[in-house]
């Protein structure tokens, strides 16, 4: 016991915080590497439906996204409430989808092309009419692998 008592005499010791910035930088680099920047700014409101039989999408570079949903509330006076299609950073019409797929496909290498997946991020209140039209366009463009983006059911409790 006497060994412990001796130390007390020296007054309170301060913890050396010189390595704290290094630790934080390490965390910072971890996040910089493992996360991705939000690429596109959403021009439509998308609240995906929930489902339980979901699969994870692997290889994000092979996935192209199509967003369908109503315009954001602030712009509904100008654009209306009808669901719109968004490709990349702008609204698009149905007939632009084929071009979009072709362009996305050109960026891929030959053996990746058949693994190309189109992820549909569709708002849950959208009617199926517009979704079917998009699917028909995708079929014609030969982009046959599709993924209905959903939230996992037990992720949130409502």
């Amino acid at each position: 016991m006497s060994r412990f008592k001796k130390k007390k005499g020296k007054g309170s010791q301060t913890i050396n915080t010189a390595s704290l910035p290094d630790i934080i930088f390490m965390l910072l680099f971890f996040f910089m590497v493992s996360t991705t920047m939000r690429e596109t700014q959403l021009l439509v409101q998308v609240k995906q439906p929930k489902a339980s039989e979901v699969q994870k999408l692997k290889k994000k570079e092979l996935v192209s996204y199509i967003y369908i949903g109503p315009p954001p509330e602030g712009r509904q006076a100008m654009l209306g409430t009808e669901p719109r299609i968004q490709l990349n950073d702008s609204y698009a019409n149905l007939n632009e989808i084929r071009q979009f797929i072709v362009r996305e496909r050109e960026e891929m290498s030959e053996d990746e092309k058949k693994l190309m997946t189109t992820s549909l991020k569709v708002d849950q209140n959208t009617k199926m009419g517009i979704v079917s039209d998009v699917k028909e366009e995708l079929r014609d463009a030969n982009a046959l692998k599709i993924n209905y983006n959903t939230r996992k059911r037990d992720e949130e409790n409502n």
Partner: protein
């Protein structure tokens, strides 16, 4: 301002700066994994080759969704209204092989690597929705049907390998189960009855 040797730069705020950067990255980046139901669309068919593929009536299980998100489920001749909660059980019952039973789809014996000879059901689920159906309902139905297939696969994997289908690591086993219980969901072009 008296100089007492070399002054050290105070590095105490370094941690704060790093924290600030860290928080900036936490906010502006995403790590979310994209999840969803993966489906394969049928390849495009040239207009002149379009013809009806003859599937015996007993092999087809019809799922109709109308513009008010209500379901009509069953055989061609015997469709009933159904609640979405019952759909999975009904689809499972239909897809499970019942050899020799006239009320269920035809079956055939198939030799599959890794399983031996198994009875495979020829049943197909035909799904059709209205243009006015909500996307949410459509996904719920897809989800229930996918759930039915997954549960059947789980059962079979349990029986043959003692594991759930999702836990199977062996490539051959996965392929074999997929062959024995295929995802037989076909979609017809939507009708426009209810209007948009």
């Amino acid at each position: 301002m008296a100089r007492r040797g070399i002054q050290e730069i105070n590095a105490g705020s370094m941690a704060d700066i790093a924290f600030l950067l860290l928080i900036f990255f936490l906010v502006t980046t995403t790590m979310d994994v994209d999840r969803g139901i993966t489906r394969k669309l049928p390849p495009p068919v040239p207009e002149e080759e379009k013809e009806k593929i003859d599937v015996p009536e007993r092999n087809v299980f019809v799922v109709l969704i109308n513009s008010a998100d209500r379901l009509l489920v069953g055989k061609y001749t015997d469709k009933r209204r159904m609640d979405i909660t019952q759909l999975k059980a009904a689809a499972k019952d239909f897809l499970r092989p019942h050899p020799g039973n006239e009320a269920y789809p035809e079956t055939k014996e198939k030799t599959i690597e890794g399983l031996g000879t198994v009875t495979v059901s020829k049943g197909v689920i035909s799904m059709q929705n209205d243009r006015g159906t909500s996307y949410n309902m459509y996904i719920q139905v897809q989800d229930e049907l996918a759930g039915a297939v997954r549960e059947l696969r789980d059962e079979m994997a349990m029986q043959y390998f003692g594991k759930k289908f999702g836990d199977l690591k062996d490539e051959i086993a996965v392929k074999a189960i997929q062959k024995a219980i295929p995802v037989a969901i076909s979609e017809a072009e939507p009708k426009n009855v209810g209007g948009n």
